[in-house]
């Protein structure tokens, strides 16, 4: 923070903030424009939101420099690392909006829905560019508040409201923990800036050690909540099940990307001196997360709950990359999130398209015999399940490969072993979905939604998953070069 005096000088390099500015302005504009759009043409708001994401993505790609650039008196950093995360989140948001088209047509179809998505996106974009705890917290809360509302968007559905309330209460608790941890670190180092806190911790004497550790534990616990690391995952199944399905798709990808990216920044900038301590903490949590995610999912009958636990399992894998704490590990996290984005969005797109007697099917039984009616969707769902299970020639295999390779290289052979054994356990519930789709007889008539845009999303995700599975080199290179700015 260089010489912050009043009155503030106009921040230099403000163009770095251009993507965020576009998203913020468009979010507010959509809220207003929506009032003037007749009810049957509400899709225009959705396309405006998509357009703003596309423009923001184009701008993000153009403002990215070779190295880190800061603006807002050093409160905001733009480096390839943040840009890559932003592109991922913009892509996830576009998918989220497209997947919502059908749902919004049947529901109230209000522009505020897309406005909330954009605000959530804005929060995440700020978060990944944070250089200090204040920016991070602002972004995090903007994201969280928007997602709380999105989860409870079906006001007249009890399940949705209940999920939102649960998510909100637990989310507030975790924000409290996060702030509590930050306050400890501030108390010890008298700074919010990541780099300064990191230097102070490294140089700190032994009498501040306890306070530092308490701060670290609370901070990481608060962040673990946001990315569903066990034992802080409890909200995930309820929130996923209760939320409208497109929101579930959105929140199972974008906030996870943002959460892990900022987690990496915090670990690398703030806690290099505490590497041993947080590795111990994460190792236990990773094993627990893998166990919970892969075992509890077996018992689920509702596919959204199942995918919620599946997300927890995947988060366990991503944690391995953080434990490795090497460039390969961090690249592995990005590779995992990229591939995970396509797999999850593809699976949710099929779930959203599938209808039985006009009702969206959510139980595993509802998929019985799908391959006879719609072989194309069945194929995509099958591919996504095999990919999530980590079977080769599909992208999911390389995601697991990257993080496991990194964690073994870092010397944690046993963690790789535990993770891969749990992935074999988890394969059961994924191939069970394939069983319903391909082996079982049709029970009730299907009537699929025929939304062309969602169908396009299905096609794009499945092509991506297969293409990455066959030739993952470009994605791996991209993720590796995106580490500039982090390390």
């Amino acid at each position: 923070m260089a010489n912050v005096t009043f009155p503030f000088p106009f921040p230099e390099n403000l163009e770095l903030l251009l993507p965020e500015i576009i998203i913020a302005l468009m979010a507010m504009a959509i809220l207003l424009i929506d009032l003037f759009i007749p009810k049957e043409k509400k899709q225009i708001s959705a396309w405006l939101a998509v357009a703003s994401c596309v423009v923001a993505a184009a701008v993000t790609m153009n403002v990215t420099g070779a190295g880190p650039l800061t603006t807002f008196y050093g409160f905001f950093v733009l480096d390839p690392f943040a840009s890559f995360a932003k592109l991922l989140m913009l892509l996830a948001t576009v998918f989220g909006i497209v997947l919502s088209l059908d749902y919004m047509q049947k529901e109230a179809n209000m522009g505020e829905y897309y406005c909330l998505m954009l605000f959530a996106l804005l929060g995440m974009m700020l978060m990944v560019s944070a250089t200090n705890f204040v920016t991070m917290y602002l972004g995090l809360e903007l994201m969280a508040l928007s997602v709380y509302v999105l989860v409870g968007y079906q006001r007249n559905v009890l399940r949705s409201s209940e999920a939102a309330l649960k998510y909100f209460i637990l989310g507030s608790l975790s924000s409290g923990m996060l702030l509590y941890g930050i306050s400890f670190l501030y108390g010890v180092t008298a700074s919010f800036d990541f780099a300064q806190v990191g230097t102070a911790i490294a140089a700190g004497s032994s009498d501040i050690r306890t306070a530092t550790l308490v701060g670290m534990i609370f901070l990481l616990a608060g962040m673990a909540f946001k990315v569903s690391i066990a034992p802080f995952h409890m909200w995930t199944p309820d929130a996923y099940e209760g939320a409208p399905t497109p929101v579930t798709a959105f929140m199972s990808v974008a906030p996870k990307v943002a959460g892990f990216v900022i987690l990496m920044r915090v670990l690398v900038d703030v806690m290099p001196a505490l590497q041993h301590e947080y590795t111990v903490m994460f190792t236990g949590m990773a094993v627990l997360t893998l166990a919970v995610g892969n075992i509890a999912a077996i018992a689920q009958r509702n596919i959204k709950r199942m995918l919620a636990y599946s997300t927890v399992g995947h988060v366990g894998f991503v944690l391995l990359g953080l434990i490795a704490a090497t460039p390969d590990g961090y690249a592995g996290v990005l590779i995992y999130m990229t591939i995970y984005l396509f797999m999850t969005m593809g699976a949710f797109a099929v779930i959203i398209l599938m209808r039985r007697d006009g009702i969206q099917g959510e139980l595993l039984d509802d998929f019985a015999g799908m391959s006879r009616v719609r072989p194309g969707y069945a194929l995509v769902m099958g591919l996504m399940m095999f990919s999530l299970a980590g079977i080769p020639f599909l992208g999911g295999f390389w995601a697991k490969f990257a993080v496991i390779a990194a964690v073994i290289d870092a010397g944690h052979l046993y963690l790789g072993l535990i993770a891969i054994l749990f992935s074999a356990v988890g394969a059961f519930y994924y191939i069970r979905v394939v069983k319903y789709i391909y082996f079982d007889e049709e029970r009730v008539a299907f009537n699929f939604s025929e939304n062309r845009f969602i169908q396009t999303a299905v096609a794009v995700t499945s092509i991506a998953v297969v293409a990455i599975g066959l030739y993952p080199a470009p994605v791996m290179e991209m993720c590796k070069s995106a580490l500039v700015g982090l390390i």
Binding site: A331, P375, F386, I391, P392, F393, F397, W398, F401, I404, A405, I408, D409, G411, H412, L413, Y414, G416, L417, I420, L421, S423, A424, A427, F428, I431, R432, V434, K435, Y438, F439, Y471, P472, A473, M476, E477, K480
Partner: protein, 520 residues
């Protein structure tokens, strides 16, 4: 790096991806079932013809890899698209492409639902199988090895029998759980060897004994499940029984061989000292498979289950021969695998022929089939005799070589003489005669006691057509196995040299010079 490829064009790539390309074409453009059948047949026959030059242009005089290809695939991890075959892998590629043709023909009439998906699954399966046998990069190997699970899972699950869902999930989870440990071992070796996934580099790297020990265990779990060896064999009878005929053919003909091939390609040359160390263990398991599983086979009521157990027993011979480290025994093991590929495949086809007519696999539901199906009875006679390893059949060559090779071997790790092992293994020859001929007697011979049997029609020309090449091959290899043996002499000699040369001295010399990845 110099590539040995006498043909000058990427024939292995063509063999691997031709079936896949055919499958893609059928998936996208063909919608008529009749056309799908003819096209799949064309694709599989063309693939077979494409793989033939691998045999005709094969250089018997070298143990070096041939028809090599090398392209970077994932440079971040130094994973390469590295292909090449030697005398050990070449026969299996030909076997795969041949059995796929037979599978397509055998499914011509009995598969009536979802013909297109069925053919696509088989062609994709062929791609992965040829890929497994030609990969020289261990990640490429693993890639094909695991990808094989997807089409096989669907083949058993969609077109299988009553209990197919249980069988296919069991098959999938068993093999997946087995092979994930191999991935960990490959990754650990990758970092230990300084960043290479090449199988050839791993063969040359001197691992110390602790490393070899754990690598060997990880490989053993992966390959033993696939072979399958007692006690991890329980998925096989279920999978075999429930799979459609062609699924059983591929399963018995090729998939089981992947496990034994894994021992030959990975365990022996990469971890020679551990392989020596585990000889008593492997011998014990093989003998249990040979003797105990033969007894189990005798008690089966279901023909497919019986042949499945017989397969496990025959694979016991293969693992026994593999771990005897003599030229004769290892060659015998490989001959046994190829021969079993013909014989077990043909026996499953025989059961399939009967199943298509009466829709039952129970031995008790048949009897006196010879009266209505004389040609079929003769065909099945040939393969039953081959399964017993009667002289003149290919399996006789394999089994006698394993037995003689075992008899002559002198493994220092064993407390008892290898002669007793050979004697124990010989029991299986008697037992296999018991269960095979007893089944043949109950099913084919005697008077017709069931009315349903009277309605059975003899072999059609189509059915006869796929038995003919198998009969010829079984007899040819039984009478004149020299060409097949010539192909593998050099490669097996090289393998035995690798497997009997200790890496420990070189490993000891390396201590302190390499970057050590701690084993936690």
């Amino acid at each position: 790096m110099e590539l040995h490829n006498v043909l000058g064009f990427p024939i292995l790539t063509l063999s691997i991806f031709l079936p896949l390309a055919g499958a893609m074409f059928i998936w996208l453009f063909v919608h008529d079932d009749r056309l799908v059948r003819w096209l799949s047949l064309t694709v599989s026959v063309v693939t077979f013809l494409v793989t033939l030059p691998l045999a005709t242009r094969f250089d018997n005089g070298t143990s070096h890899m041939q028809f090599e290809e090398f392209h970077p695939w994932i440079e971040t991890f130094n994973i390469n698209y590295q292909l090449g075959i030697d005398g050990i892998s070449m026969p299996f590629i030909i076997l795969t492409s041949m059995l796929t043709v037979i599978c397509v023909i055998s499914a011509w009439e009995c598969i009536q639902s979802r013909v297109k998906e069925y053919m696509i699954a088989f062609l994709i399966l062929e791609t992965t199988l040829i890929g497994v046998f030609s990969a020289l990069d261990s990640m490429l190997f693993y890639f094909f090895w695991e990808a094989m699970l997807i089409p096989m899972y669907l083949i058993i699950g969609i077109w299988g029998g009553k209990n197919r869902v249980y069988a296919t999930i069991k098959f999938f989870l068993y093999t997946l759980a087995g092979s994930v440990l191999m991935l960990i071992a490959l990754l650990a070796m990758h970092f230990k060897t300084g960043g290479s996934f090449s199988i050839l580099a791993m063969m040359d790297y001197p691992f110390d004994f602790t490393w070899q020990f754990w690598i060997w265990i990880a490989f053993f779990i992966a390959f033993a499940v696939k072979v399958p060896m007692w006690p991890v064999h329980t998925w096989l009878p279920d999978a075999h029984t429930e799979a459609p005929t062609a699924g059983s053919v591929i399963l018995a003909g090729i998939l089981l061989k992947m496990g034994a091939y894994g021992f030959l390609r990975f365990s022996l040359p990469i971890a020679p000292d551990a392989s020596q160390y585990f000889v008593p263990f492997m011998v014990a398991l093989s003998l249990v498979a040979i003797v105990y599983i033969s007894l189990v086979a005798m008690m089966q009521q279901d023909m497919k289950r019986l042949i499945a157990y017989s397969s496990i027993a025959h694979m016991g011979f293969v693992t026994l021969g593999t771990f005897m480290f003599t030229q004769q025994a290892v060659e015998g093991a490989i001959i046994n695998m190829i021969s079993h590929g013909f014989v077990a495949a043909a026996l499953f086809l025989c059961v399939g022929v009967m199943y298509d007519r009466l829709h039952t696999r129970e031995i008790a539901d048949y009897g006196g089939v010879v009266n209505v199906m004389p040609v079929f009875a003769a065909v099945m006679m040939v393969f039953s005799m081959a399964n017993v390893a009667l002289p003149g059949a290919s399996s006789f060559v394999g089994e006698i070589m394993v037995l003689v090779g075992t008899f002559a071997a002198d493994p220092s790790q064993l407390d008892i003489s290898a002669k007793w092992i050979a004697v124990a293994a010989t029991i299986s020859v008697v037992l296999s005669a018991c269960y095979t001929l007893w089944m043949y007697k109950r099913v084919i011979m005697g008077d017709i006691t069931k009315d349903s049997v009277k309605t059975m029609q003899d072999l059609s020309l189509r059915e006869f057509s796929y038995f003919v090449p198998l009969i010829l091959l079984v007899l040819w290899m039984g009478f004149y196995p020299v060409p097949v043996l010539d192909v593998m002499h050099e490669s097996v000699a090289h393998l035995i040299e690798q497997a009997t040369t200790s890496k420990l001295d070189a490993a000891a010399a390396l201590v302190g010079t390499s970057h050590d990845l701690a084993l936690h």
